[in-house]
Amino acid sequence: MNNNAHLGDRKFIIGGFFVLIVFVYICRLFYIQIIDESYKISAAQNAIEVRVDYPQRGVVYDRKGKYLVKNEPSYDLMVTPRLVKGCDTIALCQTLEMTKEEFLKRIKKACQAPNSPRKESIFEKQMTSQRYATLQEKMYLFKGFYVQTRSVRKYPKPIAAHLLGYVGEVNKAITEKDPYYKDGDYVGITGMERGYEEALRGLKGKRKILKDVYNKEVGSFMEGKWDTAAIAGKPLYSTIDIDLQEYGERLMKGKIGALVAIEPSTGEILAIISAPSYDPNLFVGVKERSKNYPVLNKDSTLPLFNRALQAMYPPGSTFKLIDALVGQDEGVISRGKTYYCSGGYGPMGNKPKCHGRHTLDLVNAIAQSCNAYFSYTFHDITSQNKFPKYVDGFNNWREKVMSFGPGTHLGTDLPYDKPGNVPSAAYYDKVFGKGRWFGNTIVSLGIGQAELTLVPLQMANVVATIANRGYYYVPHCVKGVSNAKTIDKKYREKHFVAVQKPEYYLNVIDGMQKAFEPGGTAYASRIPGITACGKTGTAENPHGKSHAVFMAFAPRENPKIVIAAIIENAGFGGTWTAPIVSLMIEKYLTGKITRIELEKRMEAVDLIRGKNLLTKEFH
């Protein structure tokens, strides 16, 4: 390296630069230490404690403004072990009804990692207000302790446990991922509490408290200049109709299954039920939850399992609606097209079977749910001449089906939804060998059996699409956050499915309306005064009695509500599921029930007791 003379001068530039920076720093120090008074402390010898102010979690209203979730105050006793000095421990133990050993054990725990003697940690969680009152009187005796007010959830009605979810304490994984959360904070674990965690949680505040040498609070530090107020969580305006939800849960009591009701013109979820359910109040507070969770978790009916979003059921005959739409769109069937049903699908030796021998057109095939008709339809859609390779025809069908939602995450605002399953060509290649499967091999797909599965929310979405004649809004359960009362744009966008011609929908809807007429599968569930359209389904269950599916919308013109429901091991869809759905439609549209007898019968049914239930298959 040649050391040119001119480079030697650079030492002045470098040195000068260093001096300049230091000069700036000294000026800054001079400013904050001498000129700016705001950093000075008035009473330098006072001890200062930092308190966290926990905001109230946002409340949740139903669509008419009634409370779904409220808050209730709760009190935590906090301790900073290093400050515990000359504390009247006997009085404290007495007040808390605690032994000396327990007391020492908890102090020790507060000293050990992740806690520290210098950091406050929770000593006694969620005390009752009575205990808080007695404790408050003697608080001056307990140096190093203080009470922190927080709030816990309160559910005015014991419903919608799966929808609302619950709140729990953060774990290490969460605190490491998001610096907002500190040990002891609460966070939404499931349901709406999780989906809307950021809106609901609010913002924690910090307060600095001045204390004198006797550990008495003497005020805030610097008039609270550095304090930040807790900002309460934002309220949620839910789309749920609390009365419908409650009514639905009443009807679904004693059954295993799920029911989802949606307003098709907006995609707003009116009710979403997973049965059996539990009282959400059982999960409020650490003690309650740790007591009740294991019990519910062990229950063989899986009450904690959110079937509405996570149980993947074969749609059974309700899938014929999609067949009918795709079939018309592909031109393989039309309103007048008839097939002869020989008590089953002829080409495969009357398998799948059907319940009669008849020749039906499209509308009647839907109304009477003919298996043969839709087996032909499925076969013809996938085996068209325009597709030289069968797999192309199959993929074309699959793509169109998936545009209705099955096999995809709909993108709803509730967490942990399952996508269901529309089996892929790759899957069948693996099972049968490449190029060795054809329309007849997999014909049971056409009647919604085999590997085809949907979650109940998707079933409801399919009906909503039909009710809207060709599009859906992503189903969601919140229509407004805070006062803004707006939601994400993605819930206001129409999603158009692969079939768009209005007449195709008209034919299908005619068939669905006929299901409620004499000879239709849901005739017994007809609703006086309301033109409803529906479709039954019986999803074969290899482990036991079939699951009963029913989907419907009403009224026929300008539909206000769509419902899809499934009841496990309940046999034929028209027996239990259709009446329940029809009652809910009647309740929602007219506000009252005229078929008291039916209502009573449905409520009384208990399909759980004494049955050998094999529900684990949906995990």
């Binding site: 390296m1 480079l7 030697g8 470098i14 260093f18 230490q33 950093y39 610096p179 505040g205």
Partner: protein, 437 residues
Amino acid sequence: MALRRSENSLFYGVDRITVLTYGLLVFMGWLNIYAAVYNEEHQNIFDTSQKYGKQLIWIGGAVIIAFSILLIDAGFYTVFSYWFYGIVLLLCLLVPYLGREVKGSRSWFRFGDVGVQPAEFMKFATCLALAKFLSNENLVIISRYRLRFKDLLKNYKNTLIAVMFLVVPMLIIKVLQDETGLAIVFVALIIVLYREGLSINFLLFGLLAVVLFVLSLVVAKITTLIIVLAGITLVALLFIKRTMRNIVFAAIIFIGASGMVLGTKKMYEKLEPHQKVRIDVLLGIGEVDLKDEAYNVNQSKIAIGSGGFLGKGYLQGTQTKYNFVPEQDTDFIFCTVGEEWGFLGSAIVIFLELFLILRIIFLSERQRSAFSRIYGYGVAAVLFFHVCINIGMTIGLMPVIGIPLPFFSYGGSALWSFTILLFIFIKLDANRLLILR
């Protein structure tokens, strides 16, 4: 004392002023660590369960290291420069796989109760290697002759290699160990390249980049910024000679600057949340006032600001006693100084650090060997960078980056690495008269 030391003495030629300043800083550092973790229950200064007790052990180790360095022949450091570099680099590569995780950090080797961060030692190794590379008699890192664009790569080859010496450890430490603070230090060595001939334009471009980064975060409308940039470019073109070359050059700068402005927001969005918040706090943008990060910097400023002119007196600080300030014994040690020793003490500490750095520059310039000079500048640059960032963040002038205050902060690896860094230079300097040009 007119006692002439023999040439064979261990201390022959050792610059006493530097050693004294070093000793003073370490001592003051320890006093403040004691104050920062002080509590009534543990008052024994030799209590090794407390950090000030541990720091005494570290200091003892540092003294031994310093002596050892002076004992070894200066030629050793010159000859084995690349070896040091290679070995420490290898350790840095291995530590994520062989080391044990400490508080989520993957940069530590554990030996029983003691942790060592190899990345700390990368500092002196890089300085050595860079000095070795640049001290080659026949090497020109920058040609001062007019360049043609096609000769660019040829002419800048050596510059690129020199830069790689910094970038490689930086990348390894940042990507494999995720230690932003330890990685960013190597940027400081650009100063060394500048001293050795790198055109000032590069530094100015760097400065421009920082200014643009800040501006594009502060100014809400990016289009306005770009229009202003275009304006500046056009005005500049009025004043410079409008040769084809200059116009192309101006156009390239303008496009580069606009790209930078446009890219900043995107890049910024990709930062870790806590890093974003730190920048937001510094620039006072966004809704950050309620967050922890702003709170911490505020605490730090309160602690320092409450010190006044003379401070509250040793061990009398309240802000630094009640755990308001995070990391107050390591990265935020300067808060304790500010609170307990006031403006006077703070200024003394800053001046001491500055004095040491300027002294090193002075000593560097008197070296006959290019190696010693370049190494000396490396030491000065690294120390300055630490002082600048560390104190800057406590007084809210720099973003919060976790790097220690040299010789002051608690921590064995840091103290030892700074000691090694400095004493190799002291040894080289002591040896300067024996080197023939």
